[in-house]
Symmetry: C2
Subunit: 101 residues, 2 copies
Amino acid sequence: MKLTNKQITVIFKALCDENRVQIFRLLQNGEKCACKLLEAMQCTQPTLSHHMKILCDSGLVVGRKEGKWMYYSISPEGTEIAVNVLRELTKVSDSGECCCK
Amino acid sequence: MKLTNKQITVIFKALCDENRVQIFRLLQNGEKCACKLLEAMQCTQPTLSHHMKILCDSGLVVGRKEGKWMYYSISPEGTEIAVNVLRELTKVSDSGECCCK
DNA sequence: CACACATATTGAAGCTTGTCAATATGTTTT
DNA sequence: AAAACATATTGACAAGCTTCAATATGTGTG
């Protein structure tokens, strides 16, 4: 599972906005419909929809349509990938010294 | 260790830019001086300096000054915090159903 | 002390993102 | 079929980010 730098930025862009962090907090105790999220957030419906799209694109959140409602939840698969990417990217091999030393 | 939503976004902004992701890759095999990073990157010195500031502000990278050189490395403490925050934020408690169901 | 070198800061231009009002799409109800 | 409802899309504007050239700061060297 090899991601490009571009794809990695898409994942972490999900967490670059305070509103989206708050949405994660709201989703932590289970799936929620968009209307419930909207109630809890201080933004308009189109803005929420925009953030949900970014969250879904990142893979950290998944959406499920049921009739006229849209249910969102945190994706265990997506978040596991994100944790692994973060781990991978920040892992230090420490194989060598810098030339300038 | 309780971070605000704002502080969390600062952490993940480090990984929102392709160039910064590339910088992590360069730092993976140990501390590097700014001049070495600059060589490897396709950007000007002020741009690199700007990115290094964002990385240091995130806590994921630490800088160390030695004479006229600046050495940067991945911070094990910072990255551990980041992983924990990501884990925390994406942990699902699943305590209850959404009202709309 | 003047000069060369490494890095940081400033200021401006261009691009991207976040936000909202208005509107469109799709679904259920009457 | 029309009305009501939930969500998505569009278009416009504001705010923020990335980038660079120019300049400043700090450090070692002749």
